[in-house]
Amino acid sequence: MAAVQDGQMELDAEKETKPEILSDGTSNLSGNTASGTLSSSPLTAAPAGGAPKMEDQQTLIAVLQFLKRNKLTDSVEILRREAGLGEDQEDSQATDGSGGGKGDVDGGDANSLLSRVSITSAAAPQSMCDSPLMFMLSAAGADDQPDVSVVLSAYSQQGDPSLYQVYYSGLKNFIESVLDCHRAELSQLFYPLFVHMYLELVYNNHENEAKAFFEKFSGDQECYYQDDLRVLCGLTKKEHLKGNEVLLDFRTSRFVLRISRDSYQLLKRHLQERHNNQIWNIIQEHLYIDIFDGMPRSKSQIDSMSGSLAGEGKREVNKAKVFHGLLKEPEIEVPLDDEDDEAENEEGKPKKKKTKKDSLGSKSKKQDPNAPQQNRIPLPELKDSDKLDKIMYMKESTKRIRLGPENLPSICFYTFLNAYQGLTAVDFTDDSSLLAGGFADSTVRVWSVTPKKLRKVKSAADLNMIDKESDDVLERIMDEKTASESKILYGHSGPVYGVSFSPDRNYLLSSSEDGTVRLWSLLTFTCLVGYKGHNYPVWDTQFSPFGYYFVSGGHDRVARLWATDHYQPLRIFAGHLADVTCTRFHPNSNYVATGSTDRTIRLWDVLNGNCVRIFTGHKGPIHSLAFSPNGKFLASGSTDGRVLLWDIGHGLMIGELKGHTDTIYSLKFSRDGEILASGSMDNTVRLWNSMKAFDEVETDDFTATTGHIHLPDNSQELLLGTYHSKSTPVTHLHFTRRNLLLAAGAYNSQ
């Protein structure tokens, strides 16, 4: 049985005690004899009586061990009895099993733990002795049983390879003949089936059949899968698969499809009518069909959600509660002495020295139900310097320009000249006083945006001599001799792909292709720590909005949460199928969003490392993420040139902004969230009316369990302006505290 939700009822009670990863196929072997046979299952139990074949025996042994380990003694007895396995056989087989490959495996790859399948060269289609073994590596438990997982993980031979084309064509004909409303949904099957069948052929060394299969059917696939297909096209032998982690993960994880109940029934009936239900087996093995009750989806709805390497997210994945509200700001006394407000002084107004308590706008004393508790995750306490910063922040925010469709921000573009296409990362401090650039020559350069120059702290000998009680001690500790407009930080040994300032402007993080993340001090402009953990290029890093924590994501397909005072990561966010290219903290620092090359965005909970949201819909690797300032929404941009808007609370896509023609590398919301700015490789900055996009969402009813919404095609209305640079791709965007938009990029003279 495919692991579909309505299939649960048909399983016998015994299976429920097993961990969920145990597939229905294997449980059939053990439990089948005890309970009634499953009517729809095409499996037969292990052949009664006659000695099972070599590979079946391996399988049975492995299953036996698995059952033993999980203390399912009755099943063990039954299986042993039925399969005619002796105690000793099992042990010897176990040692064999974990040893070298089987004799009849082509090629004799001795150390391949994965190649446990025998290739039967029978021309006639096999009977169902080769039971389809489903395998899920992702859930807990099976990892400590290499022999079981070895056997179970193989692609078992589903019938005659030369007939694969026939199977696929058969399915294709069927799907084309169903009603329109079902056709779109069932067409989702094509891509995963195609890839899995192709990989199976390659894995079992049927190279010619694989090539023919590919040629015949690759053109039918959706256009947004073309990149994947190109990669597949180059894989014609099993050895090619070994180095490709992404495809290995694809093989072992299950592609999720969401199909309405009606369409599913249709499919099931069709595939079970025929005697030759190879496709059914493959579906059971590699696909996870998430059934929902309701109207079948239209093609456009499906297209908007599909595109990821693992299918869509299962419904229950996006149902976890996410605390997307903001943390309460601490109450700080704001002295209203107008030293900094020169305009008013000029008018000669009397200065009123009145202190006022300003709680940064949150007037209500009640806890926002959507906000996390203050102490949900430990956060650093506010130091005096932080309080001063906050006061500055509040003062600046009073001067903030309110943006809107009639009031667009001015854009100030910082162009890096003579960077020779080497600019790979940019960041601004929150108060826009410093700018950092990461370069392909492994340097990090820091510039001062304001006229105030960058200075280093004095040496210890000199520091001894200054007056520590003076008011301007923070100025005196700086060494004037080292003043310069920019400083260069050396240390990395590979291009620097991510830079991030700390909120208190004392530290700078940089992540590089050399696998390390470095923490630099902006007081001495030297490197303080190198965090080693990813051993592969680290594509992005970001400080938490409160400092102390930072997140990094890289080629090893995980994102890591670090604290500056721990040399090892505190959390590892694993789950993506391909590189993590973009990592962003939620404004309340309790969640981390990661965008990946597998075209999904995942939202992770910092507290326990769980993935609480999976957003699919992009058709290309995701390169930019931005949280809205109120924490409720997420915007993402990818190589397909679209910006997608997501509602975090409900876990749904709420908007699609089309317009860019090339990869979007930068996204930023304005300070109050009314405008979303996006910068792209097509040398433009576009401004979108995010307020309108989100308002339309508020009124919609999200109670539909299917979560399918019709995305209005209103990109044109939401686009407020397109601003071209001469020939400079936009690498970074930043709204100053007063809502001036700063953009940065390297001039590209071609």
Binding site: G108, D109, L137, S138, A140, D143, Q226, R230, C233, G234, G243, N244, L248, T252, I377, P378, L379, P380, E381, S442, K456, V457, S459, A460, A461, Y490, G491, H492, S493, L519, S521, T524, T526, C527, L528, V529, G530, N535, Y536, Y548, D556, R557, A563, T564, D565, H566, Y567, P569, L570, R571, I572, F573, A574, G575, L577, V606, L607, G609, N610, Q750
Partner: protein
């Protein structure tokens, strides 16, 4: 340089044409012309390495010719060495589960800069000078302040030039914000017996007897040139090593 126009197919050797076709098949339409050369060089080196390894394996197995099994074995062994791929997903999920079970540590208040323990930081001085020995002969006239110069091994701009440590209490010129306590460096003055100079021509008129603690070197590619001078220091010659920290991944693909 940008993507120049491609060489016309007629004049391009066959191997290069194969490379161009590969790029086209993988959907890459714009590339610098030297990419072809790089691909050819890589291919040549990879193939010859594999074949050489395979020859070794086949002679080890006492076969007369190299056959497919040898090549396969050679490829497998090289894959593990050179093309290391990231860990598999189940392993990552496993360690993630372990790591994520420990609760987040509480943050101690008022602790100043929050950095890992010193041995995990790059803030320690990455050299120290040997202590002054009393055997310095007084016939030496001048006492020169030794200079420590640090030069880069390769063209990577990764080494700052360290300042000159003077003999009094210093430690700060090396730019270490944390270890601001005075470090006293005493320096061994080279003896003036030039006859016993064993070293090769010194490249720089500097540096005697510098001990370097390589584990503290943050930036790579530091080459310290040292002079071994006189029998005073002969006992130290073994401790002097040419410490260069370039990693051997320059030979990487």
């Amino acid at each position: 340089g940008a993507h120049a126009k491609m060489a016309s197919p007629k004049t391009v050797p066959k191997d290069a044409q194969v490379m161009m076709q590969i790029l086209k098949d993988m959907g890459i339409t714009e590339y610098e012309p030297r990419v072809i050369n790089q691909m050819l060089e890589f291919t040549y080196r990879y193939i010859t390495t594999i074949i050489e390894d395979a020859k070794i394996y086949s002679t080890h197995a006492k076969k007369s010719t190299v056959d497919a099994d040898d090549i396969r074995l050679a490829i497998q062994c090289r894959v593990d060495q050179s093309f290391i791929s990231p860990p598999p997903r189940d392993f990552l999920l496993d360690i993630a589960r372990q790591k994520n079970q420990t609760p987040l540590p509480l943050i101690k208040p008022y602790t100043g800069p929050r950095l890992p323990p010193d041995r995990y930081c790059l803030t320690a001085p990455n050299y120290r000078l040997k202590s002054l020995q009393k055997k310095v002969s007084s016939s030496a006239g001048r006492i020169t302040v030794p200079r420590l110069s640090v030069g880069a091994v390769s063209s990577r701009p990764s080494t700052p030039t360290l300042g000159t440590p003077s003999v009094q209490t210093v430690g700060t010129k090396v730019g270490t914000p944390v270890s601001l306590t005075g470090q006293r460096f005493t320096v061994q003055i080279p003896s003036s017996q030039a006859a016993s100079v064993k070293s090769a021509t010194p490249t720089t008129p500097t540096v005697q007897n510098v001990l370097i603690n390589p584990s503290l070197i943050g930036s790579k590619n530091i080459l310290i040139t040292t002079n071994m001078v006189s029998q005073n220091s002969s006992g130290d010659s073994t401790s002097l090593k040419r410490k260069h920290e370039d990693e051997d991944d320059y030979d990487a693909l």
